[in-house]
């Protein structure tokens, strides 16, 4: 690895004299952030420090970005080549965004700038600050890399940044974390107030949201609040999720993070309730266990078993297709309960309810019917448990 001295020589880096009359301009943090954003999309050029912008946006039309190509077998620049006029390395990018050592247009190439390690120490044009107090327009610097911070710390400790990341990436804007090896740095002459005490601003965001900010300390804007908006109401609130089936398809429209989105139920285990809980397009097609089928129950004609029919567990005699088949075809009129143990339909069979015996189903207490059960009945019930086909559809 090159030494810092040879790096400075190689880059034609400024060893800026303290007697220089140059100073960075007095401007707002917003001006610096804007200048930084205008570099996004330009190439990484080792030793470079120029790009083209129109306001806060990059001008990639009038100034074609160059192209950085790593040399075979290299572990990064300077073992790389760059074609084209425009591009920057990390320190060239931050020097230009900060306008240090003095103001130059962003289009100006081959002008004075600093190396990354310069930003880790106090300097006449900037001061080292704790990483915990990073603000937009500050820099985060290590001995080998420097990054322009453009956003406040997010809820989990990341910052939005713009950086000339490397040969493969160019100048990129992203949310990132920093190792503890980074120092914070704040440029001087950021003194112009952006706003007056008590001032507030709002702007639209997403497609249903608004975000706000207020004038902090009577001088600089606070970070924009989270993007939020009211949920639609009435008819506007209902929606369907495209491509989803069953319970996952029918939802309610909400404004989440400023975006209208259809919130529907998540797929769950299929139970016997007349709803496509697992969102596979079929109603009540779960396993016997999940549906609560195959459990012994009390039927007017004798010992039956539970079957999921029309969204409810019903007591059916073995061989019968509905609870209402005549008793001579193994039938009667019975009702079982929902899976929470409560009846789902009116019970007009002799069976009576008691507490569920299992998590997934209810049980029908076999009162007098148990006493009437014959060996044939038990055999029939056992056969039914083994081979009964569901009749839910």
């Amino acid at each position: 690895m090159k030494t810092r001295w040879s790096l400075a020589v190689g880059l034609g880096i400024l060893a800026f004299s303290a007697t220089s009359s140059a100073t960075p301009p007095t401007e707002t943090a917003k001006d610096i952030v804007c200048r930084g954003k205008s570099g996004e999309g330009f190439s990484y050029a080792w030793g470079g420090e120029c790009w083209c912008g129109q306001g806060c946006k990059p001008d990639l039309t009038n100034c074609e970005p160059g192209k950085c190509t790593p040399k075979a077998g290299s572990t990064g620049c300077p073992e790389c080549t760059h074609s084209g006029k425009y591009g920057a390395d990390c320190s060239g990018f931050v020097s230009k965004a900060w306008q240090v050592p003095k103001p130059f247009p962003v289009e100006a190439c081959d002008v004075d700038r600093y190396v990354a390690s310069s930003f880790t120490k106090n300097h006449e044009f900037w001061n080292v600050v704790p990483m915990s107090s990073l603000q937009p327009a500050d820099a985060a610097a290590s001995s080998t890399h420097v990054i322009l911070v453009i956003g406040e710390k997010d809820s989990q400790g990341n910052h939005e940044v713009v950086e000339a990341k490397g040969c493969n990436y160019g100048i990129v804007r992203q949310s990132r974390s920093f190792s503890s090896s980074y120092n914070g740095a704040r440029r001087i002459n950021i003194t112009t107030c952006e706003c007056a005490s008590g001032e507030e601003q709002s702007r639209e965001c997403g497609d249903c949201g608004t975000e706000h900010r207020s004038c902090a300390d009577g001088c600089s804007w606070s970070a924009w609040s989270a993007c939020e908006g009211p949920d639609p109401t009435g008819e506007q609130a209902s929606c369907t999720v495209e491509g989803a089936k069953g319970a996952c398809a029918v939802g309610v429209k909400q404004c989440v993070a400023g975006w209208l989105t259809c919130q529907a139920a998540q797929a769950t285990e299929e139970i016997c309730d007349g709803i496509d809980n697992d969102c596979d397009g079929e109603i009540d097609n779960g396993t016997p266990e999940s549906l609560g089928e195959g459990k012994a129950c009390n039927h007017t004609c004798g010992r039956g078993e539970t079957v999921c029919i029309d969204g409810a567990l019903q007591c059916v005699m073995p061989g019968a297709s509905t609870p209402n088949d005549p008793c001579d075809s193994g039938v009667g009129d019975s009702g079982v309960g929902g899976q929470d143990g409560s009846p789902t339909s009116e019970i007009n069979s002799p069976g009576t309810w008691h507490e569920p015996e299992s998590v997934s189903g209810c049980a029908c207490h076999v009162g007098s019917a148990r006493g009437n059960g014959s060996l044939w009945g038990l055999l029939a019930a056992a056969a039914a448990v083994w081979g009964f086909r569901r009749r839910s559809r």
Binding site: W46, A116, P130, Q174, S175, S180, G184, V256, T261, A264
Partner: protein, 323 residues
């Protein structure tokens, strides 16, 4: 699924073809492993790195643990994914079309999804035989800037991208097809719940669990560290409903240039009611080599960490003891 012809794919294929003309590393070698809980992959022999000089440094950006206990390591510097067996032995490498992918997730036993947030700004689906299957744009409803994606999460109902640690956007459905984008606050977990993590600004971290649809916070807990909590490194829920949080705790000097004095990671496991079950400390922390995913839960609920040192990449299984 079939590969959809895509101009962007063509572009990124070209970019990596260039860098693959002369690979930056020798043939992959078996790992050096002296410890059942740590696999070490040597720098420049097995995994590639960029050593930044006036640029960012980077090692493997992300990894994921497979259902069989093996790992997929995103060796994007060498335009490939390393596929290991459950003992950490390299079993194959899968070529990637670009050196700028920065996250990897496994959506099922045979399909992985790779994110390139910064250059092509796309997701690429590939099977574990190395065949590209589909590529989709990251930016769209809910994601105005792909660089602001903070996590990629594969769930049974599809693939989600978290944005600025605020909200998550479903970009692929359960059939791995682009879908109407559903947006939720926080990070999706099972049972229609979501997880949210937030630093309170006073050195503690607040973890909340809520319902996606009603956006109500069901439970919340404030976590303290041995040192002030600087960052939430990872947040997820396992199949048992336990919440796993990895916290970066750090103490900095109070005088310029404010160097770090002590730092560590803490892996905190919470039960469904957000009561703390266990806490494990790791001395391995983020280095100057940029990483997107440092920690991730394995399918069995064990936490893994990918850490870097001078020798190489360490894949540490926290579930086997204190790192």
């Amino acid at each position: 699924m079939r590969l959809r012809p895509n101009a962007v794919l063509t572009v990124i294929l070209a970019s990596c073809t260039l860098s693959l003309v002369a690979p930056r590393t020798a043939e992959a070698e078996p790992i050096v492993s002296h410890d059942p809980m740590t696999w070490v992959f040597p720098w420049d022999k097995t995994v590639g790195r960029i050593i930044g000089q006036e640029a960012d440094s980077e090692g493997p950006k992300s990894f994921v643990i497979k259902p069989d206990g093996g790992a997929l390591i995103l060796d994007q510097v060498n335009c490939r994914v390393l596929d290991t067996d459950p003992k950490g032995n390299l079993i194959q490498t899968l070529a990637l079309p670009a050196p700028t992918f920065d996250d990897i997730e496994l959506v099922n036993e045979n399909v992985m999804v790779l994110a390139d947030r910064l250059v092509s700004k796309t997701l690429l689906l590939m099977d574990l035989q190395g065949h590209p299957l589909q590529q989709i744009e990251i930016q769209g409803r809910g994601i105005t800037h792909s660089g602001l994606v903070t996590a990629m999460i594969a769930r049974t109902d599809g693939v989600w991208l978290e944005v600025e640690h605020r909200h998550s956007v479903k970009v692929l459905d359960r059939a791995l097809q682009p879908c109407e984008r559903q947006i939720i606050t926080g990070r999706p977990v099972a049972n229609g719940w979501n997880l949210q993590g937030k630093l309170d600004g006073r050195g503690e971290a607040i973890v909340s669990i809520g319902r996606r649809i009603h956006r109500e916070t069901m439970r919340s807990v404030s976590l303290k560290g041995q040192l002030p909590i600087r960052r939430i490194v990872w947040l997820d829920m396992d199949a048992k409903g336990q919440v796993h949080v990895v916290l970066h705790e750090a103490q900095f000097a109070t005088e310029s240039p404010y160097p770090v004095q002590k730092e560590q990671y803490a892996w905190v496991v919470l039960d469904e009611s957000l009561q703390e079950i266990s806490r494990t400390i790791s001395p391995w922390v983020l280095t100057l080599y940029d990483q997107r995913v440092e920690c991730r839960l394995g399918p069995d609920g064990r936490m893994w960490q990918m850490a870097f040192d001078t020798n190489g990449v360490r894949l540490i299984d926290w579930g086997r003891g204190t790192p």
